[in-house]
Amino acid sequence: MTEWDHYCKLLERGKISRREFMGRTAALGLTTALATSLAAKAARAATPKKGGTLRLGIGHGSTTDTLDPATYENLYIQSLGGAVHNKLTEVGNTGDLVPELAESWEPTPDAKVWTFKLRKGVEFHNGKTLEAADVVASINHHRGEDSKSAAKPIVDPIADIKADGKDTVVFTMKTGNADFPFIISDYHLSIMPSKDGKADATSGIGTSGYTIESFEPGVRTKLKRFPNYWKEGRAHFDAAEMLVIVDVTARTNALTTGEIDAMDRVDLKTAHLLARNKNVKIVETSGTAHYTFAMRTDTAPFDNNDVRLALKYALDREALLKSILRGHGVIGNDHPIGLSNRYHASASDLPQRTYDVDKAKFHLKKAGLSNLKVDLSAADAAFAGAVDAAVLYKEHAAKAGIEINVVREPNDGYWSNVWLKKPWCAVYWGGRPTEDWMFSTAYAAGAPWNDSFWEHERFNKLLIEARAELDEAKRRAMYVEMQTIVSNEGGVVVPMFNNYVMGLSKKVQHEKMGSNWSLDGFRAVERWWFG
């Protein structure tokens, strides 16, 4: 047995992760691309049958949905994007980055210029062959003055995109960013066919394993396997149907009566009852999605870190997890980096913050206050149960002499009128696959979504350094320090990370499920199969 075979075996048995596999085989001198295809081969060995029609019931979606990735705004359309489009890179089911439409990529040492080599012979659903120009047009779809794309802030750091021949795309960044290949895997940044430098964003044509047969916004999408799909070991179903079933009871009924094969967003209150059904299994993944209470650190009394600490200690995270998420989640440690992130600070690096009334009182006293009275704005638009969570927080904090006044805000316009405006409010974050991405989005000084209006010199310095740092160990150390800073000095209370809880018919098979997003990282249609 060669060492290569050994690694393949380990991967098959799940003994090593894909990331480790990639790392170790790289050490053997293999190119990333070869390693990937080998990994795919190994995965295939473990499996799957072809055929069948997967029926997915998704608890989101609206008649106003469009196929334009720039406006992907809910889980339904995002999952559909995952089924129809490829990106340059893909976050694999174990959380690490694998090549997708890009065969390989190469940064300059300062991580400022990234050169992506495209896979050859990839065909769009309309028969067109993938070229560099398509990639440039697809990314440019989100850039520029007139961009209405939700992904505009994501592609903002890109200074320039150039096609270099038919198979090479060169990205020039404003500042170095070691995580750029991760960023380019964002679900908005789907690669679409282009014509005269304009991406065709509305027809839903991609390069993935499934073509759209019919798309009825807010109702259903019918997908058919694309016979010329380039990726091997994927796209097992002959067809798929993605249904919008917003009412959770209807969704649950549909699953138990066999109308659908899988559903997302299981009703947490009754998940234990659903699990008893002999045809159904509950699958949950813990990802990067988390709830926060963001304080404006530029406003009194939140400009005082002791006040912030007092509030952080005055919350019983376990209780919140139990009653709001019914345990389907993980408690947070006042920073946004989840367990599935690469550089998550373990308990030994950063002790878990607990509900500690004495410490809360201590910090309160240190801030020169004997009691505290603050408003907390919440609405269920922030996250399901936000108002209940705020009410629970109020009860916990009361024991530490802190009086929280829960302000129920209207659901409508919550993100425009409350978030980033009110001094303290409930917020939901889908999370980001990389630390840098998460921190730069919501914690870097001056970032548009820095909802705590927080500025920390050391943190911001570390952020830029780490971004361009290619040495793994040094990077880890930097990110752990940043997590520590955010936890101890930041303006955000992070009570918990929520799981993605799905209900699957027992006949649905899958590998380890991607945890970066719901439904296997939005890739359920491509990754799953019927046993």
Binding site: T64, E145, K148, A150, A250, A254, W415
Partner: protein, 318 residues
Amino acid sequence: MTEILTMVAQRLALGLLTLFVVSLIIFLGIELLPGDLTEAVLGQSATPETVAAFRRELGLDLPPHTRYFEWLGGILQGDFGKSLANQREISELIGVRFANTLFLAAIAAIISVPLAVTLGVLAALHRNSFFDRSVNVVTLSSISFPEFFVAYILILFLAVNVNIFPSISNVSPDLGFWERVYRVMLPALTLTLVVVAHMMRMTRASIINLLASPYIEMANLKGLSRSRIIVHHALPNALAPIINVIVINLAYLVVGVVIVEVVFVYPGLGQLFVDSVIKRDVPVVQGSCLIFAATYILLNLTADVLSILSNPRLLHPK
């Protein structure tokens, strides 16, 4: 006959005026809603620049009256415009949904109207009998339950416990007619339970109301049988109120079924409307509202015309 036509023409003209006012109210209503489509679609990821660009693209930066009159101009030329959210033709978007809504309403009506009238006639015929009382109690109870409750109960019994009908009615355009009928059975039954009581009670009451009339006494004294008196003498004269209540219920079946659509995941116009309100997709909201209002107006007109046709006094004036 010409009088009926004149009346129809007048009512249609009035109806157009009503539609105009309705469109104005709805437009103003949506203008008053906090936020617009761009903010709703972009949600948490909105930045001032993207919102501004989005608004420019959709023309939402124009003043409200300009947008309204542009929309109105389009309508007058038969152009309902395009959905702001996905640029689909509204006539197309609404067309499919409205067809679905009408289909469900039709199935529900086909079940409920004959059922209600038959029950009403039978109850009137055997009034104060055990049958009458039980029909009364059962129908009264059935309107006393919230719609979603009836829906859930039916799902529990007919889909979960015994899998006779599908629990969701996700019809699609490629389904065959009978498959479609099968799929909408549960929502149709739900709606039937909701509307039957009203129509049945009205049928019964209108007939019984007439039983005190001299011509019914006359029919009795002519030695006619009970059933002939009810069916031949009372029913024709009770038609106007019965038609009226049937039409009101038909209107309800078309415009009032949002909840049933939600529970059964039925792709009708109601869902489209609710989604569009949430997303502030003004042209779609306007379009669907006009459809709803027009349905209401036309059905009312139909009721009046039918009442005239069923009444010789109005049909054959002196």
